[in-house]
């Protein structure tokens, strides 16, 4: 009986975990306010420069917001964090006396970048997301509580064909050498045997 109960429980758990589609919630006023802030291209620096978040990143956020219902408190916290982040960017750009039109966040100092990353992690946590950053490949991944990807900073256009690089060529060559060596060895052994027979 216990085994049957365990089996039923396991099956129920499996099916509950399989539920992967989310009922869309639409964009409420709070989410719209955050999206507007993310889309904002207002002048920020003393020399009139601005910075902006790429459209595709904002769209990814909008897609996620369509699956949640952001509360007033969450909106206030997130807008506060965005304002704090903008302040850091402004300080960095002005410190460098940037005179161009669009400030590149990549040129920021590492401690400032880390601070902005921390703010991003806090903002994500506010809506049940986890932001991880890998400095090795400069990859940002945001996942929801179930571990489902909500955002990743991959290029818009992906590789959609086999691309053979040097590593592939070396591996295939090495395999070919091993096969050839094996065949050569067998041939030599066979020839030697034939000599002895004669």
């Amino acid at each position: 009986m216990k085994k049957i109960l365990c089996l039923v429980m396991a099956l129920a758990l499996t099916f509950s975990l399989c539920l992967t589609v989310n009922a869309a919630t639409g964009i409420n006023a709070n989410e719209k306010a955050v999206l507007d802030e993310l889309k904002s291209k207002e002048a920020l620096g003393k020399n009139g420069w601005s910075f902006f978040i790429p459209t595709e990143y904002v769209t990814a956020a909008e897609n996620y917001f369509n699956t949640i219902d952001m509360t007033d408190a969450q909106k206030d916290t997130i807008l506060g964090l965005i304002a704090e982040g903008k302040k850091i960017v402004k300080e960095q750009g002005d410190k460098a006396n940037f005179t161009g039109k669009v400030y590149n966040l990549k040129t920021m100092e590492i401690p400032a970048k880390e601070k902005v990353l921390e703010l991003g992690q806090k903002a994500c946590k506010e809506v049940g997301l986890t932001l991880t950053y890998s400095s090795k490949d400069n990859k940002v991944i945001i996942k929801d509580a179930k571990g489902v990807v909500a955002f990743e900073n991959t290029p818009i256009v992906k590789t959609t064909g086999e691309s053979f690089n040097v590593t592939s060529a070396v591996v295939i060559t090495a395999i070919s050498v091993v096969i050839l060596a094996g065949v050569a060895y067998l041939v030599i052994v066979a020839k030697k045997k034939a000599l002895f027979v004669k």
Partner: protein, 230 residues
């Protein structure tokens, strides 16, 4: 005289490694190159199918369980955002049909490496079908978009989702570098669809740098009423 003897000795000594190492190496290298060049697409397929075989089986089961696609038959009007199930990452939420190129494949939300072996995949930084905006969809050239280069301007692309049936009319096809973002516009607010796949033009060695793009404009289908408040 002594010099000639030395040279002969060196040559004799050289013959052994030449026979045992250098010749097989050179032969193997040429053979590998020939394999790559002649069986370019075939090798690609093998690697692709191989990667699927080596996928963890629990991923397979989870994937199949999650992707029971229920097509909608709604072809016009609007659909409220709250009446649809928003797609989840790496999950099928539609299918793409292009009769002129004999393409019929699943449409997956998210374009991870794993998802790309399963169907045509939408970049999650683009809008879902019918939402109003640019939808970027990719698939492998040796799999689901094998015939994408047969698509011509004026052809229709049918996309059936869980919430509606959409038609797009092809307005442009062309080959561009992958980094060339002049082909598409992520800021567009009108409904449009961009399909692309890798474009081979030279050799099997090296990265495939170009893509074959198909751009299509919205023709029919229930646009999503976003119901944005505030």
């Amino acid at each position: 005289m002594k010099f000639r003897e030395n040279i002969t000795r060196i040559m004799k000594n050289f013959k052994k490694p030449m026979r045992l190492i250098i010749t097989p190496l050179a032969f193997a290298f040429i053979l590998a190159l020939a394999v790559l060049l002649v069986l370019n697409f075939a090798v690609g397929d093998i690697i692709g199918y191989g990667s699927i075989l080596f996928m963890r089986t629990e991923d397979y089961g989870q994937y199949d369980a999650d992707n029971m696609f229920e097509p909608s038959s709604k072809e016009s009007g609007t659909v409220n955002i709250k009446d649809i199930k928003f797609p989840s990452y790496e999950r099928v939420y539609g299918e793409i049909e292009i009769h002129s190129a004999n393409i019929h494949c699943p449409l997956i939300y998210g374009d991870s490496t794993r998802a790309l072996w399963r169907g045509a995949c939408q970049y999650i930084g683009s809008t879902i079908i019918g939402y109003g905006g640019t939808t970027m969809v990719a698939a492998h050239v040796n799999r689901h978009f094998k015939n994408l280069n047969q698509v011509e301007v004026g052809d229709f692309i049918k996309v059936t989702t869980t919430y509606g049936v959409y038609l797009y009319k092809v307005s442009y096809t062309g080959v561009h570098f992958a980094y060339d973002n002049s082909v598409y516009d992520m800021n567009r607010k009108d409904e449009n669809l961009v399909l692309y796949t890798c474009y081979y033009e030279q050799t099997a060695l090296g990265n495939v740098k170009k893509r074959f793009f198909v751009c299509a404009d919205y023709f029919s289908g229930p646009l999503i009423d976003k119901g944005v408040t505030g």
